[in-house]
């Protein structure tokens, strides 16, 4: 039972972190960033030397944890900011559909860049192997990583809330997310806020990459896409642009996936995702605006 709760929480954590990365950027520039998953993949491959062998030649992956973690987060943040400067900035005043297509294209560019350097074969890597050891809690044997994933996610969420509520930059981000042009008329610097959102979002992508990489022991070009599909769904169910909604929906989806895996009859388990998506459609039928409607649309009195 405890095992199920922890499975649900740790899977939900991944979805929540992914959804948050998308919601942050959507909040400030109404961009649904499909390149986010590829930023995740890039962050993990940055630890390896370019090569097409199955056995990865580790490059930065051998760093001690207190350097490894900042390195991966910085790679994610850096690539994400680069995407904004080189690509998204030029699309800022175009309509959301155009921006979305641009992000699709950019995602493919990143993916094929990785493909070129590393080939499509997943590579086995062993990062921080100590985390794969099991620990015993209340009679249940859990991988240490699962526990750490949950704790880290909760810490990130707390940190983000404090950042958004207590800092000047957080205040500006919230104002800009709600009404960008009004925020600018009050002197809030558009470029700074948007770059900040991309940096945060990219760092979250780095965090996902780390957790995923340690969990699966492989670096796979497809890895971002797997998490991102669920993360996208979470942002939509949560109410596009609502950070709290994205997190809530991420955890709910994680829980739904794990619970269905347990309660579905054995024959139906391979089709678990169909049931999960079915539940998603039901939620959207009843709450098309999402669980927590974003306040980004201007309220007029």
């Amino acid at each position: 039972m405890l095992q199920i709760v922890f499975d649900a929480l740790s899977l939900g954590s991944l979805y929540a972190l992914g959804a948050l990365g998308i919601a942050l950027i959507f909040g400030v520039m109404r961009l649904v960033n499909f390149a986010h998953g590829d930023v995740i993949a890039f962050s993990i491959f940055a630890l390896l030397w370019p090569s097409t062998d199955a056995m990865a030649i580790v490059f930065a992956g051998n760093l001690p944890w207190f350097l490894l973690i900042p390195f991966v987060l910085a790679v994610g943040a850096g690539l994400s900011v680069l995407c904004e400067i080189v690509v998204f900035r030029r699309f800022r005043n175009t309509n959301p559909a155009t921006m979305m297509i641009a992000s699709f294209a950019l995602g493919f560019v990143i993916r094929y860049f990785l493909l070129m350097l590393y080939s499509s074969r997943p590579k086995s890597i062993s990062l921080l192997p100590i985390l794969s050891q099991p620990v015993e809690i209340l009679g249940a044997r859990l991988p240490l990583l699962q526990l750490i994933t949950i704790i880290v996610t909760i810490a990130i969420l707390f940190g983000l809330v404090i950042f958004l509520r207590r800092t000047r930059f957080g205040l500006e981000m919230r104002a800009a997310a709600e009404n960008f042009s009004m925020a600018r008329m009050l002197g809030v610097r558009a470029n700074r806020v948007i770059m900040g959102a991309f940096a945060l979002s990219g760092a979250l992508a780095g965090a996902i990459a780390l957790i995923f990489g340690i969990q699966t022991g492989t670096a796979d070009i497809q890895m971002g896409a797997a998490v991102m599909l669920m993360a996208f769904i979470s942002t939509v169910i949560g109410g596009l642009g609502s950070l709290a909604g994205a997190v809530l929906a991420g955890f709910l989806l994680g829980a739904a996936s794990v619970v269905m895996q347990v309660i579905l009859p054995v024959d139906a388990r391979p089709f678990r995702d169909a049931f999960v998506y079915g539940a998603v459609i039901l939620v959207l039928l009843f709450r098309p605006q999402g669980l927590i409607a974003a306040r980004g649309t201007k309220e007029r009195v």
Binding site: R174, A175, N179, S181, L186, G187, V188, K298, V301
Partner: protein
């Protein structure tokens, strides 16, 4: 001394020209009303000055510097504070947070904390209701209170000029009275320069000052509000719009 100088400013949306060649000179400490019927181009002109809507021609000078084509945040930082039509409070932020966003542009100047606290006090003195509700979400305020909030938010930036687009929009007349009363008191107290947009000339005549009438994107009258207000020229010019 000239604070705001518009020279031949035009604004276009695709093939529609909303503002055609408007030139206005506004002196420091002056109160200017821009009036005119719906669709005259008043809001477009204001947004163009604020840098939110691009100009299609002409240029804008603020405090002697050319600001045409600069970003809204740069223009705001020069001391031009804009209160747009519809008020645009940040509904999910608290009242105090709204005010703090307004103060943010000075966060790098020394002594900012003390100054901001003093400014906050002064806004709360002017609008006590804001102080009372300072930790509530701004979206919960009534229209009149929101209007007070956005004026207070503009003041927090310590601007040299405040431009307000239709402050009376959707407000009951007695609430509008309150808003104007405080606005004019603030103007006198701080020798603020005010640019107020309203559809009708009623308020301009009550308050006094200079008034411009816009129609179909152009300035058609410019003079003393009280003299122009009830003149036949004004009536003719205002209603001339309906003729074609």
């Amino acid at each position: 001394m000239t604070l705001l100088n518009l020279v031949d400013v035009s604004v276009r949306y695709g093939r529609l020209t909303a503002v055609r060649g408007v030139s206005i000179n506004l002196k420091e400490g002056e109160v200017l009303f821009i009036t005119g019927p719906n669709g005259a181009g008043k809001s477009s002109l204001l947004r163009a000055i604020a840098g939110v809507t691009p100009t299609a021609g002409g240029h804008v000078e603020f405090d002697g510097a050319e600001i045409t084509g600069r970003t809204p945040e740069d223009i705001a930082r020069l001391g031009f504070s804009m209160v747009p039509e519809g008020r645009e409070v940040f509904g999910s932020l608290t009242i105090e947070e709204n005010l703090m966003v307004g103060a943010g542009m000075h966060s790098r100047t020394p002594g900012w904390k003390g100054q901001t606290a003093a400014d906050l006090d002064s806004v709360y003195n002017t609008f006590p209701i804001l102080k009372e509700r300072r930790n509530q979400q701004a979206g919960l305020l009534s229209g009149g209170q929101q209007q007070m909030l956005v004026i207070g938010r503009a003041l927090m930036a310590r601007p040299r000029l405040i431009a307000i687009d239709e402050p009376s929009l959707g407000l009951a007349p007695n609430i509008t009275d309150q808003v104007y009363e405080r606005l004019i008191a603030l103007q006198a107290e701080r020798s603020l320069t005010l640019l107020i947009v309203e559809q009708s000339s009623t308020r301009a005549v009550m308050v006094g000052g200079r008034m411009i009438l816009m129609r179909s994107g152009q300035v058609v009258l410019d003079g003393d509000a009280r003299e122009l207000g009830n003149s036949e020229a004004m009536q003719a010019a205002y209603f001339g719009y309906e003729d074609h």
